[in-house]
């Protein structure tokens, strides 16, 4: 990977950590229910640098923040990690398998859905083994996810467009390929 890209990825990691850490300070009715602003970064990374890089950013973000705040290996950490991995894989998967079918907005919605689903499933499996309680909370969590996913999706879209105009290349082969600063994607 070019050093320019490395720098960019490092920046993305930093911003992801900042977003994740910051949004934890915003109060929400249900614990661990977050907006997921860091997903903006994840999606951007998927589009420009591929699934592997995006996964790496997600892992680093979740681990670093939880270690720093002190919730490492706690319930919040598990849910963050599970949700983050699920949404990253979902977004990466859809982007690469279905080409340009979905724009950032749609991908973000899919990611949010996967994120929420994974969290509900993990909560059921590891914490509250009562399907009624999970069913009770799921609509709230899912609607919240759609709204957050929309905001994040539009924000990702804007970020992607501005980065694309700066010359970054979109697409599956962006990794490991030599390319000049020219070219506005496909």
């Amino acid at each position: 990977m070019q050093s320019q890209d490395r720098l960019r990825v490092a920046l993305l990691v930093a911003v992801a950590i900042a977003l994740h850490g910051f949004e934890r300070t915003i109060p929400t009715p249900i614990p661990w229910l977050r907006f997921g602003f860091a997903n903006i970064i994840t999606l951007t990374a998927v589009v420009f640098y591929g699934l592997r890089v995006a996964l790496m950013i997600t892992l680093i973000r979740v681990f670093v923040v939880s270690l720093f705040v002190g919730t490492f290996l706690g319930p919040g950490f598990i849910l963050s990690l599970g949700g983050g991995l699920a949404s990253t894989i979902a977004m990466g998967g859809v982007f690469y398998l279905l080409g340009g079918l979905f724009s950032p907005l749609g991908l973000s919605l899919i990611g949010a859905f996967a994120h929420n689903l994974a969290q509900l499933f993990l909560a059921y499996l590891l914490f509250v083994r009562k399907i009624d309680a999970i069913l009770y909370l799921s609509p709230v969590i899912l609607v919240f996810g759609v709204l957050a996913g929309t905001v994040n999706g539009l924000a990702s879209g804007m970020l992607i467009i501005s980065l694309r105009e700066e010359g970054l290349r979109v697409g599956r082969k962006a990794m490991g390929k030599e390319h000049g600063a020219q070219g506005t994607g496909r």
Binding site: I30, P31, L105, D132, A133, I161
Partner: protein, 128 residues
């Protein structure tokens, strides 16, 4: 053109359909789950998955539930139930207030308070 406008312009309509679909799906889910939520005349209190109390909603009562981090107090009054006190740090279960249907859970103390309806002892209702 502003960046936002440009982003929206570039978003194919499929994405918007997905958004509408998801919202519709979830909002109807809201109503559906609301109805699905068990309502009834019995309150079941569980600790770590084990049932410790089966209370009648028609009988005003306060019970102490012993969990791993302390004693949670559950109150039944006027056909509703709430968590009166719990030793958990965030007190989310207490903030939920009174419920007539559904569940209240205290994750740290592993307490689940749920309302159960349906057949009791094989009958649909009890007189007397």
């Amino acid at each position: 053109m502003s960046l936002l406008k440009k982003t929206i312009k570039e978003t194919s309509h499929l994405n918007w359909i997905l958004l509408v679909f998801l919202l519709f799906f979830y909002l109807t889910g809201f109503i559906f789950v609301g109805r699905l939520m068990p309502a009834g005349e019995t309150v079941i209190v569980e600790v770590n998955g084990k049932t410790v109390y089966k209370l009648a909603l028609s009988e005003d009562r306060i019970v102490d539930v012993k969990g791993p981090i302390g004693v949670t107090k559950v109150e039944v009054k006027d056909g509703r139930v709430r968590v009166l006190y719990s030793p958990c740090p965030e007190k989310i279960c207490m903030k939920q207030g009174w419920i007539r249907r559904g569940v209240i859970i205290c994750v740290p103390n592993r307490v689940v308070v749920s309302i159960k309806g349906g057949k009791v002892r094989g009958v649909d209702a009890i007189t007397g």
